[in-house]
Every structure is written in structure tokens, then in C-alpha cells.
Subunit: 331 residues, 2 copies
């Protein structure tokens, strides 16, 4: 018998034992059929379900010296909850595919489950992990599928913005990128390998940025509110405002004119930093902006550039593309 | 500019270019909102959605010397379609999270997309890949989420078998395990490293077994038929009949008595081999078995053992547990 109190590795345990420890952490199921069968059955009361998947991979997406298991669980849930919200939907369930080395400790798995549950509690009450899959892999990988309910609303697509619309954002911009910069500048050794984080050396502002990077808290509840408030287009800002705004502009056939004075003290980070998972939306000019959104610009007829900042093309790197930007040597 | 006709690596391409090549292969969306937005929107006409996820990881789950990209796409879809079918549901959509090394060739990605599409076409017409995620990873990993519709049926759980029920199976048993044995015995070098498969050296029976291992074709359409035919419990046989039958027995609080004479020429492989994704179901004794199912035993009141074979406990290894059985050195 393996002593489960001695924090064994998952390679020492049977799958059923690991599952039991995970399920104990996740709380009561809210599903019609929860974990334990071949599949879950989730309510989709209006006859439609919103579905999205996003994966966090050790190396490109997180480092274990920087992210705790709890952080990883929290972030892997949050980024997917934001995608559901960006359609105007309320998250109803997560499925988690966890691939991990045999040397992974049981405490890591339970910490990850705690983070998943906490993100649901904080960002999408009523949503739970209702299914998943455990596999062995040399590379720790968390693929989360999020489902959501539109409750009769039309989904808010990227393609609905019209010339004259107000461009607005809910949630932070640039904070997660500043948090990543803190990690690379303060918590790496000479070879740029990650070092454990000691938050006591950070200012309160740096700690906030670090939290936005490690445990993002996107404004999930504002997605349905934006839809009900007349949003014509919406998406979550995962790869940086400029890049994602250009995607929304391309899909809608408009150009977006942003006002850098509305982007806070650090407009460059706000424009180019990824991983904030803020909600970017457009609204008709004659409607009041829903509480939680603030105006950052307006949409115009399509011009030469999809996005202009203060009337001009923004020069420089505009966002994160994993196939262009990931460097296995430095991260 | 990268020449897309010269089969570049994904590390040489932008994410958008890779996505475009994938989407070209997948055919027309059947969803309310298909690929291209923050999330898909899938019809769930009866107000419920069945949802499951299963992951294939390079090493434990497949070897690139043995599986083509097409095989990998086909299998990663098929194993998830079987889980949806095992609830009594019809698959409606797949979401595919693909994590791959930067050195992966574009032709590999398009081959994988072809395999995903072919599995849907063969096993679940109407189901398509409606969303997904691309990330960089040192370990090639395919996590597929499958959604399904119950069309008003009650989901068929593992827990509904009653004493007196007939135990029946649809689909092959033991073939995928024999196919894996062919691979390990015929297509490895002295160090057990995989060698490319030359099917011309195989007998027709060996080729069939290999196909069952590399491109499993579970009887997905029979899942809803079993539900309509009164199935009291059902699951897909992924880890071997004995192990999965014992799970069904435990969930239902019965014992299952199997008759080895009904299991074909190779009852040991049928009892212990995994990865067939046959459907194991129980039916009331007074109803005719749906076409495609054949009787392999019956359920009795719970005894000391969850499963008996020919009246006795079956000795020996009974199925695959990735955390017990995977050995990174030999696979």
C-alpha cells in the first residue's frame, strides 16, 4: 500500500486513487450527470451550448518555479471562462484534461484541483469541473474545455462591430504582461532559468501585476451583461489589445480608433501585453455603456489599417503568437 | 515569406496560417457558430449536452513510427465519439486542443485534420471539429472534447444494471490489443524502439488487428440504438473488458457473469485487451437485443467478485492503468 499522506507521486498511485483525491476537492457536481461516467451531461436550457478549449503547457505557458499548482489550476480555468464570457454566455461546466509526468506529486494534483475550484467560485459561481481525463506525459499539460449557456441571448461574435460604435473594455490591460516582466527581470538566474518567487521584495503594484499574470481574474460576469447591454461585437483580449482589436476589426470589416489617453499610466503595456483576458467589446453609440466597461475608442469605416492609436498606425510588436514568439531556450 | 508548399515546420509559420490550413481540411461547419470566434455555439435541442474529453500523448498513447498523422487524428476522434455513444447520445461536435513541437511539419497537422474529419464521416456523420486550440509543446498531445445530443433520451449510465439483465457487447474485443502486440513484436528494434510499419509482411488478420489499434472504428451509431432498445447500463470498453465490466458492476451494485465461449477465438485478449472502444451494455432479459449487440453473459446479485468468467474469478492482469502500467523506457 502506498501511504497517501506521504505525498506519493502519481506514478506510485492507481488512476482511481488520484481521481478520488481530485473529486474530493471539486465539491458537489451541478451537472445532470457529473464525474464518474463515460461523459458528463450538462444542462443547456435554451437548446444551445457555448464550447471552447484552451491549453496551458509547461514551458511556453507556465513555469513551475513561478506558478504554484493552485495558480496553474486557477489560470487554466480563468482563461477559458473568459472565452465563454466573450460570447455573452455564462459558464456552466469545465472538463479538464490533465497530462502529467509520473513524478508529479499528489499534492500538486490536489493543489491544481483547488485552483480550478477557486477560479470557478470567484469568477463563475455555479460552474464546476464536471469531467476530465488523466494521462501520463513528459510535459505537464492542462487542457480545459469550458461550456456555457446563452440563456436565450444571441451570441456576441467578433464580426458585429459597425462604424460609429463605441469601443470599450472591461478588466485590466497590460497588467499580466507587466507581471511576466517582473518574473523575467527579478526571478531568473543568469541563464534566464526561473527562480522561486519571493513576493516580499516586490512593491504592492508589482504584486498586483504578478497576481494578474499568475491568477488572472477576468470579468466573466460582465460578458452576459455586455450582451444584454447591446454589445455588437466582443472578444477576450488574450494576445494583446492591438492584435486582438485588429482581429475584431478584420472580422467586422471596420477599423478601430483607440485613444491611448484612456489606457492608463502604461499605454504601451496596455496595447501590446497579452494574457489579461479583459473583454473588448463594441456598443452602439446611442446606448449607455454597461457598468464595468469604459470607453477606449470608436469604430470607423474600414481604412488601410485595422487599428489606429491616436489617429496613427502603432509601430512595434503588437502581440503574442506562440509559433512566432516562443523560444524553448529562453521561454 | 515561408513557402507553404515546401512543407515548413509549424515553428516557421504564424498561428493564423496553420489554422487556415487546418480549417480547409475540416469542411463546412455544422454549428450555430463554428471555428473562428472565442468559442463555438453548438445546438443542444433537448436542453442538455453530453460532454467528454480524452487525450492522446506521444509515448504512452501513440508512437510516430507506428501511427501516421491521419491515424492519430482518426483515433483521437474515435475514442471520444465512443464515450459519447456510451451515454446513448449522438456526437454533435469536437473541439481539438493540439499541442505540438515547433519542428512538427505542416503536412503532419493537415494529415491529422484529415484523420479527424474521416473519423467523423465514418463514425458520426454530422459531427465536425467546431473549435480548438493550438499550442507549442515538447510533447505532441491531442486532447479532444466531444459533445453529443441525447434527443430526449435518458442518458445511459454505468450504474443502471440489475440482477437478471443480459450483458451484451457491440464491436470488437481484443483486436486492438493484438494489434499492439503485432507492433511490439514485429516493428521494434532490439532496444524496443518502434520501427516503421511495413504491412506487407502481415497476414490479413494481423492487418485487421493493426487497423483496430491504429484507427479504431467503435460502433458509435449503436449507442443511441442501445438506449432506445432499453439498455439499463452502458460504457465503452477502453481499458479491457474485465476491468471495465468490473467498473460497471461496481457502479450498479451487481456482479457480471461472462461466458468465455461467446468471446471468439481469443478470449484472453477479449477479456484483458484495452483500446477496443466496443460498447458494453446491459439489457432487461425480456427485451430483444438490438441488432449489432451479442450476448456475452448476465448480471446477478452482487457477490464477492464484480466479474466472474465461466463461474470463476479470472486470474491475471485485467486491464490498462496508465499510472501503473506505463513505462517510459519501453512504452
Amino acid at each position: 500500500m502506498v501511504d497517501e499522506h506521504a505525498d506519493p507521486t502519481v506514478g506510485e498511485l492507481r488512476e482511481g486513487v488520484i481521481l478520488r483525491h481530485i473529486l474530493e476537492r471539486l465539491g458537489e457536481s451541478n451537472a445532470l450527470v457529473g464525474p464518474g461516467d463515460d461523459a458528463a451531461v450538462i444542462a443547456a436550457a435554451d437548446g444551445r451550448v457555448v464550447a471552447t478549449v484552451d491549453t496551458l503547457v509547461h514551458g511556453p505557458d507556465f513555469r513551475l518555479a513561478w506558478s504554484s499548482a493552485y495558480d496553474l489550476g486557477y489560470k487554466s480555468a480563468a482563461v477559458n471562462l473568459a472565452d465563454v464570457a466573450a460570447m455573452g454566455a455564462t459558464p456552466t461546466a469545465l472538463l479538464v484534461a490533465l497530462a502529467m509526468p509520473e513524478t508529479t506529486r499528489l499534492s500538486f494534483v490536489t493543489g491544481l484541483a483547488d485552483g480550478l475550484r477557486a477560479a470557478c467560485r470567484d469568477l463563475a459561481p455555479g460552474c464546476r469541473v464536471e469531467g476530465g481525463d488523466l494521462t501520463v506525459s513528459d510535459t505537464l499539460t492542462v487542457a480545459v474545455t469550458a461550456l456555457g449557456a446563452l440563456a436565450g441571448r444571441a451570441p456576441v461574435l467578433r464580426s458585429g462591430a459597425r462604424a460609429g460604435d463605441i469601443v470599450a473594455v472591461a478588466g485590466g490591460l497590460g497588467r499580466a504582461a507587466r507581471g511576466l516582466r517582473v518574473l523575467f527581470e527579478r526571478f531568473t538566474d543568469a541563464a534566464r532559468a526561473p527562480l522561486p518567487v519571493d513576493e516580499s521584495v516586490l512593491t504592492p503594484a508589482e504584486r498586483d501585476d504578478l497576481a494578474a499574470q499568475l491568477r488572472p481574474a477576468p470579468p466573466v460576469a460582465l460578458g452576459p451583461i455586455a450582451a444584454d447591454g447591446g454589445a455588437t461585437a466582443m472578444m477576450d483580449v488574450s494576445d494583446g489589445l492591438l492584435l486582438d482589436a485588429s482581429r475584431l476589426a478584420e472580422a467586422s470589416g471596420v477599423s478601430l480608433v483607440l485613444d491611448s489617453a484612456t489606457l492608463g499610466d502604461d499605454p504601451h503595456s496596455a496595447l501590446t501585453g497579452g494574457e489579461d483576458h479583459a473583454l473588448l467589446a463594441t456598443f452602439p453609440p446611442d446606448l449607455p455603456l454597461p457598468s464595468g466597461f469604459h470607453r477606449i475608442g470608436h469604430a470607423v469605416s474600414r481604412g488601410a489599417d485595422p487599428v489606429l492609436v491616436d489617429g496613427a498606425r502603432y509601430e512595434g510588436r503588437t502581440g503574442w503568437d506562440p509559433y512566432r514568439d516562443w523560444d524553448a531556450r529562453t521561454g
